[in-house]
């Protein structure tokens, strides 16, 4: 175990080349990146010391991201340009550091401060108007009883309090439709993302939308839908073949929000849940 001299909060994005990594893969890749860049990362104690890099929220396999958060603890102080350089030297392909802030070493852990996450998913075979009304129905509902698969069992829960906001938006310009796709539109949503009061899952909202529209959602590309359980989840969703299928492409987590950020955005007239 090495003493922590500095703590950096990294804001990073993930694009196509790193898209199909699981959370564990990502951790391993970042550790290698630090070694390549010779970044003096503090290590945790234990039999196999791990680099002290703490991601605010694991990113699902298949999910792209634009504004993720991680805390990196260093055993030696570095200047911001130096750290930027070293990160650039070894960063795995498909990850981009957008910003970095020097944080007080003793500041509270990052994960418990999370409040929400914004997602943008692009849906094939869905008309904008149909999506708009389905979104309105979800917003208007008082309760949205759904089931979530966990270790093979389905657990009933209420999706409504986890859904802070949802809108149909114009198609993601980066989502190239496959040749034969009929209609394409995108949906934006803000979901609660907390450690103690639950987190919404974008693909479950899409499934709820699909139910509303009388359609079936096929899994998002690359199996967004949980790592270990991806297979079962998929089998579950695809089952009723009779209904038309919504295909999800280019799922993006646009941003993670901390409690204080969301509060200040709300008070300045931003989106409210």
């Amino acid at each position: 175990m090495s003493e922590v001299k500095q703590r950096w909060r990294l804001v990073f994005a993930r694009d196509e080349e790193a898209r199909y990594l699981s959370h564990l893969d990502a951790v391993r890749l970042w550790e290698r990146a630090f070694r390549r860049g010779e970044i003096p990362v503090a290590t945790s104690e234990g039999f196999t010391p791990r680099s002290r890099l703490i991601f605010a929220a694991p990113l699902q396999l298949g999910m792209l991201a634009e504004h993720e958060l991680a805390d990196l603890f260093l055993a030696e102080r570095l200047t911001a340009p130096d750290l930027r350089d070293r990160l650039a030297a070894g960063m795995p392909r498909g990850y981009r550091v957008v910003d970095l802030h020097d944080v007080w070493v003793g500041a509270p852990a990052i994960a418990p401060q999370l409040a929400a996450a914004d997602y943008r998913m692009t849906l094939l075979n869905v008309e904008r108007t149909a999506l708009e009304s389905a979104a309105a129905t979800l917003t208007a509902a008082e309760r949205l009883p759904r089931e979530r698969l966990k270790e093979g069992k389905s657990i009933p829960y209420d999706l409504r309090p986890l859904l802070l906001d949802i809108r149909a938006i114009p198609p993601d310009p980066k989502a190239a439709p496959p040749e034969a796709a009929a209609a394409m539109t995108s949906v934006w949503m803000r979901l609660r993302h907390t450690q103690d009061r639950g987190s919404g899952r974008a693909e479950e909202v899409v499934a709820a939308l699909a139910d509303e529209m009388g359609l079936v959602a096929s899994p998002a590309s690359g199996g967004v839908g949980g790592e270990a359980e991806a297979d079962e989840t998929r089998a579950e969703i695809v089952a009723p073949a009779a209904r038309a299928v919504i295909e999800v492409i280019r799922p993006v987590r646009e941003r993670l929000w901390l409690v204080n950020e969301l509060d200040s955005e709300a008070s300045s007239g931003g989106v409210v849940g």
Binding site: E16, E17, A18, R19, Y20, L21, S22, L24, D25, R28, L29, E31, R32, A33, F34, R35, R36, G37, E38, I39, P40, V41, F47, T48, P49, L61, G62, A75, E76, L78, D85, R86, A89, G90, P92, R93, G94, A175, A176, P177, P178, S218, P219, A220, S221, G222, G223, A230, D231, E247, V248, I249, R250
Partner: protein
């Protein structure tokens, strides 16, 4: 970690075709929408997505000859292969050429590609395989041959040489099984024997000289047919390749058979076709380390670590081992070369662990020196190494480099249960030695010992089989005394597979009934707490032997099996023996005839025109010794056995006997002391003819390894993953019946 001077080398970035006058063939890649859609429906899409560190994306318009390495097994296996990492770097080092990669798709992707009408693409730039100039196939195991067909088919390439169009790539195979490529001869345009580092360059130079990469439009300007031809026709290109040493072009020969089904002879159909072809040896292995910027996968693979080959070749002379017999002469890297290279590789990859690889790294003269120096320079880095020795030195070595703390299993591979049979296979370790090693491993904290044995070895009797039970029980008792109820002995049985170009190439396999009887008896003799036996259904071994000793008539059998659905045959969950039996039957052939027949030593062999250096005369001599249960000394320090390698390859051997090199060899009871053996005439040199100490002929394995990442499916049968990179690069290759892999040390759950 230190924040000292840091190199700022990025992995290769796309090369832009600056100033290049010639624009080369550059078809459009598959659209990302197409790829995303297909990958959205499969397990583990990270296998096919690319973006790995040190992978290279080049501009097609600015690169002449384009290779795609097609590894006919899943990503997790293929990416672990050191040979691929080496050749990828060797070819991409030239900015005007490129090499990309492709691995076998798992069945879900294969089905999805067929359903969507999407061709199999290369990982780097997502071009269909048929767009490349050369497809380099790495064949390290007999049972991957259906994967090869699957890749060709999905890649849009004609399956056989006759079905390929002028625009299809040349399909060139290398790897350990191509020492008998006759069963697959119809599917490959050329075969590279031996080590690939130099010959891939020679092949590339020749093809570029001939204009194989040039595309000349057929028809008038502006015609949109897309028709084109290459700068040279296929037949001419193949004849030119046949003149390169080590390159075998099967279509220039015809095989003849006798009326009773035996092989008669091979006839050359062209003046360019040499009648014997010997495997290549890389020119400068000792001094020049290639494969520094090794590919680093994004997802977990089987050997998820950096690898440095410290030694190539093996002179132990285990008579069942194809890799060992075929990889001579022995070459070692000097300690400073090895240490510097290891550091460079670690820096270039960011890996936290490095394997010092070879067929048996405990035999590497400088193993201690290199391990110690690496420990000193990079205390955080984990080391691992494979060894085929059963001796105290190995245990000490593994103990020294294994992490302390909880230790999982230590593996030894005595291979045979009785001393007599071990002498027959030239793995002459004694019972006492095995017990001493086991005791030492238990003393050093390992509570579980894995023992690898083969069933069905030539000359094996039921007594030999039951001796496995006896020694295993004795080892377990020792474990109980040291660790109580925690002690475990896991016995792993595999079926003997005769390998071509070994002294046992003429010996047939036992029939399934015999094998089952032996294993049944062994099971009866071995039960009790702490003792487990694992073995595999021997049918895949029959197929392995049949394909390994097969001839050209097996080509249609392989194709038929694939048509009937055989693929990923190396994986238990996919292997279906009845499919293969049916395919054999349709061709009027039987696997047993190929696998179980004792071939008379005067019969002509279908692979006789190919060689790896070791002479048939030596193999016959050594076989006689085997039948008399007599050992052949390891020429690393013992006398030369005149195996014929220098005459065939032009490489002089520097052995303890007649070479200038000085050797440090561990001998003695504890294996801890070093004894100096100098060149001939050196007063410190022992004088006995067989100077090998008691350990010299021992064998077995140890590898410090914890991270057996699952490839995401059932167990793959061929065990030795722990072998150095194989394929075109070194003849050993992994999975071909090598001594034994082995994990020892370490907590099996870490990593």
């Amino acid at each position: 970690m230190v924040a000292a001077a840091r190199p700022r080398r990025q992995p290769d970035t796309p090369e832009v075709g600056t100033g290049s006058v010639e624009q080369f063939h550059a078809p459009a890649p598959l659209s990302s929408a197409t790829v995303e859609r297909v990958l959205g429906k499969v397990r583990k899409p990270g296998r096919y997505a690319g973006g790995e560190w040190n992978s290279v994306q080049k501009d097609w318009a600015a690169t002449a000859l384009k290779w795609c390495f097609a590894y006919p097994d899943l990503y997790e296996i293929g990416m672990s292969n050191l040979g691929l990492r080496i050749l990828y770097e060797v070819l991409n080092d030239r900015s005007d050429r490129l090499a990309e990669r492709c691995f076998s798709p798992d069945v879900d992707l294969a089905d999805e590609l067929r359903a969507a009408g999407v061709p199999l693409w290369s990982i780097e730039t997502r071009r269909p395989l048929r767009e490349f100039d050369v497809l380099g196939l790495s064949l390290g195991y007999e049972l991957v041959c259906t994967n090869m067909l699957e890749m060709l088919d999905l890649g849009g390439i004609g399956l056989t040489t006759g079905e390929r169009s002028e625009s299809d790539p040349l399909v060139i195979a290398g790897g350990s099984i191509v020492l008998n490529p006759e069963p697959i001869a119809g599917f490959v345009d050329a075969v590279v024997l031996g080590e690939g580092e130099d010959v891939v360059i020679e092949i590339s130079d020749e093809l570029e000289r001939l204009g194989w990469h040039r595309r000349i439009r057929v028809g008038g300007i502006g015609e949109r047919t897309g028709e084109w031809r290459r700068g040279v026709d296929r037949a001419t290109a193949l004849r030119a390749l046949a003149r390169i040493p080590g390159v075998y072009v099967p279509s220039l020969y015809r095989a003849r058979y006798l009326a009773d089904g035996r092989f008669d002879r091979l006839e050359a159909l062209d003046a360019a076709a040499p009648m014997t072809i010997t495997g290549r040896i890389a020119a400068d292995f000792e001094t020049h380390v290639r494969g520094v910027r090794q590919l680093v996968p994004n997802i977990g693979i089987v050997f998820d670590r950096a690898q440095l080959e410290v030694m190539r070749g093996c002179t132990r002379g285990c008579r069942f081992c194809g890799a060992g017999m075929q990889s001579r002469p022995l070459r070692e890297r000097a300690p400073d070369v090895a240490v510097d290279a290891a550091e460079a590789i670690l820096r270039a990859t960011g890996y936290e662990e490095i394997g010092l690889t070879s067929l048996s790294t405990a035999d590497y003269t400088h193993v201690r020196e290199v391990a110690t120096e690496l420990r000193r320079r990079r205390p955080q880095t984990l080391l691992s190494l494979p060894s085929t020795r059963v001796d105290a030195f190995t245990v000490e070595l593994v103990d020294a480099i294994a992490p302390t703390g909880k230790r999982g299993g230590f593996t030894f591979a005595p291979e045979a249960g009785s001393q007599r049979l071990r002498d027959t296979i030239n793995k002459g370790v004694s019972d006492e030695e095995i017990e001493r090693c086991a005791q030492l491993a238990f003393d050093r904290g390992w509570s579980s010992i894995k023992l690898y044995f083969m069933i069905g070895l030539p000359g094996e009797t039921m007594d030999d089989v039951l001796a496995i039970a006896a020694i295993s029980r004795r080892v377990l008792q020792m474990g109980h005394r040291r660790h109580g109820g925690r002690a475990q002995v896991k016995v792993n049985l595999s079926t003997f597979v005769p390998k071509v170009m070994t002294p046992f190439q003429w010996d047939g396999q036992d029939s399934t009934l015999e094998i089952e009887a032996k294993v049944g008896a062994l099971r009866q003799a071995m039960h009790g707490k702490g003792l487990t036996i694992s073995w595999h259904d021997p049918t895949s071994s029959i197929l392995e032997a049949a394909l390994g000793r097969g001839d050209r008539r097996l080509g249609p059998v392989i194709r038929r099996a694939w048509q009937k659905g055989a693929r990923l045959d190396a994986w238990d969950e996919h292997f279906d023996y009845p499919t293969w039996l049916a395919a054999f039957a349709e061709a009027g052939l039987e696997p047993a005839w190929y696998a179980q027949r004792d071939i008379p030593t005067d019969e002509r062999l279908p692979w006789a025109h190919l060689g790896a250096g070791v002479s048939t005369a030596f193999l016959l001599r050594d076989r006689k010794r085997a039948l008399a249960a007599r050992a052949t000394a390891d020429c690393h320090w013992g006398p030369c056995a005149n195996c014929g390698v220098p005459a065939a390859t032009g490489f002089a051997c520097q052995t303890g006997e007649d070479g200038p090199r000085t050797l440090l060899v561990s001998v003695g009871d504890e294996g801890r002391g070093w004894r100096y053996i100098g060149p001939p005439g050196d007063p410190r040199r022992p004088t006995t003819a067989s100077s090998a100490g008691p350990n010299a002929l021992s064998g077995s394995g140890a590898d410090v390894d914890g991270d057996n990442v699952e490839a995401g499916r059932g167990e793959r049968r061929d065990r030795p993953y722990d072998l150095p990179g194989s394929e075109m690069q070194s003849k050993d290759a992994g999975p071909d019946g090598l001594a034994s892999p082995v994990e020892a040390a370490g907590d099996e759950s870490t990593g």
